[in-house]
Amino acid sequence: MAQSPSRTSVPLLALVTPAVLVAVWAVVSSAHLFPPSLFPHPADVARGVWLELRSGSLVNDAIASLFRVSAGFLLAVILGVPAGLLLGHSARARDAFLPLVNFFRSLSPLAWIPFAILWLGIGDPPAIFLIFMAAFFPIVLSTSAAVANIPSVFFRVARDLGIGGPRLLSAVTLPAIAPQVITTLRVTAGLSWLVVVAAEMIAGRDGLGFAVWDARNGLRIDLLAAAMVVIGVIGAALDRLLVELTRIPSVRWGYER
């Protein structure tokens, strides 16, 4: 088996590359190759992050965005995984629904923004709706594919061992699809985090996406870049959080062979 050394601590190299990037950014900015009104200095951005953190607005915006992503994403998981189980188990259901699922999956959730505002107004509901639309269909598709690909030998063994009915779901189907579903959760959580920013830029009164738009309207490029930095950091942190799911011993088989 491929045992990697402990990866829970952030390796040194992971800190070096961002430091180099910021240094290059500082040099380019100090050289005044671009006007300061178009290209902020990292020190100004750092000050912007600090000011906004102290005023509390950045924290409030981050909380607002995280709440919307959590709500929309959890709703998509709660409805999407069972829908995927259903499609995965029934070829007829797949025949009936897969074209629709593929249609909606290919439709950018951003195209829903006008309807989201018309139907749901401004604030949490349209953002949650858009995140749901972004995450739900990939989750359904991936879950149903995972179920349809479970080796039939597992079900034969289950029958031999007297496992049937609801226990089949908890003892065979769910553990068999867990690795693939976890991978899908990582992808769709990232997708949700992308969508919330766009949703808040247009249909928000707060949130990190709104902070970006607000800074742009106020011509505060330091705050604009500050919001971008925070968005990126939180997005990466969310993925690290979900990576922890892949360390559960009973799902390692899905990543190691």
Binding site: P151, V153, R156, V157, D160, L161, P249, R252, W253, E256
Partner: protein, 248 residues
């Protein structure tokens, strides 16, 4: 069905649509017997085993099987999300008492020599170790009949030789009636009391080779070699047909 018979198939025919896979198969397996089914690939060996297990119903004919049976599969039938110990415990789920379950699992782990690997996951084991765990899980059911579908086909030759020896040892400890499907004729001749040679599809029984020498048998033992020769001759894969070696 007489008391000594554990499994009986009477003129079993299986057809998938217009394709007849099994044609009028009669099979009787006595209690404690080790029967091997060999034949060209695609001839319907696995289909026949699936009829024996009840996974597949015959198109015509009748099957009498014991109430309990367990199957050992050719591909990975272990649940990869469970440890060796948890897989074996799952095979003991018919044992009501927790403590007895634990004791039997420990005994099975000991029997297959994998006590040290109880907490390991299947993907951390070699192919031979996985097949031993699968065997232990099937044995845990205490069913009189074991059906084995090419259980060692994914192993390399040396590992296969070792597993034949292991299977013999384990069956001496825990006797079972076994029906083994294999494409490995040497394996059949080394392990079985009776080898049924099947024809091309639709499968019929073309020959029956009885081996009386006790197990374990060396692959180079004259009786094993002569059985292999006879089976290969029946299958049309042997060219030097020496009289006296091929006939019993």
């Amino acid at each position: 069905m007489s008391a000594a018979q554990l499994l009986r198939l009477e003129s079993v025919t299986v057809a998938f649509g217009a394709v007849e896979v099994l044609s009028g198969i009669d099979l009787e397996v006595r209690d404690g017997e080790f029967v091997a089914l060999v034949g060209p690939s695609g001839c319907g060996k696995t289909t026949l085993l699936n009829v024996c297990s009840g996974w597949l119903s015959p198109s015509t004919g009748s099957v009498h099987r014991p109430a309990g049976l367990r199957m050992v599969f050719q591909q990975d039938g272990l649940f990869p999300w469970l440890t060796v110990d948890e897989n074996i415990l799952l095979g003991l789920s018919q044992v009501p008492d927790r403590r007895e379950q634990r004791e039997r699992a420990d005994a099975l782990l000991d029997l297959i020599g994998l006590t040290a690997f109880a907490g390991a996951y299947p993907h951390q084991l070699s192919g031979g170790m996985r097949q031993r765990v699968e065997l232990a899980r099937a044995l845990g059911g205490e069913t009189p009949l074991l059906l084995m579908d090419e259980p060692f086909s994914s192993l390399d030759y040396l590992a296969r030789l070792k597993m034949r020896w292991e299977l013999t040892r384990i069956l001496r400890e825990q006797p079972r009636t076994v029906v083994l499907v294999t494409h490995d004729i040497e394996e059949a001749a080394q392990l079985a009391d009776r080898v049924l040679v099947l024809s091309e599809r639709p499968a019929r029984v073309r020959d029956e080779v009885v081996l009386e020498m006790p197990r374990p048998r060396d692959p180079t033992h004259p009786e094993v070699v002569s059985a292999v020769h006879r089976i290969l001759t029946v299958l049309g894969l042997e060219s030097d047909v020496e009289s006296g070696r091929s006939s019993r």
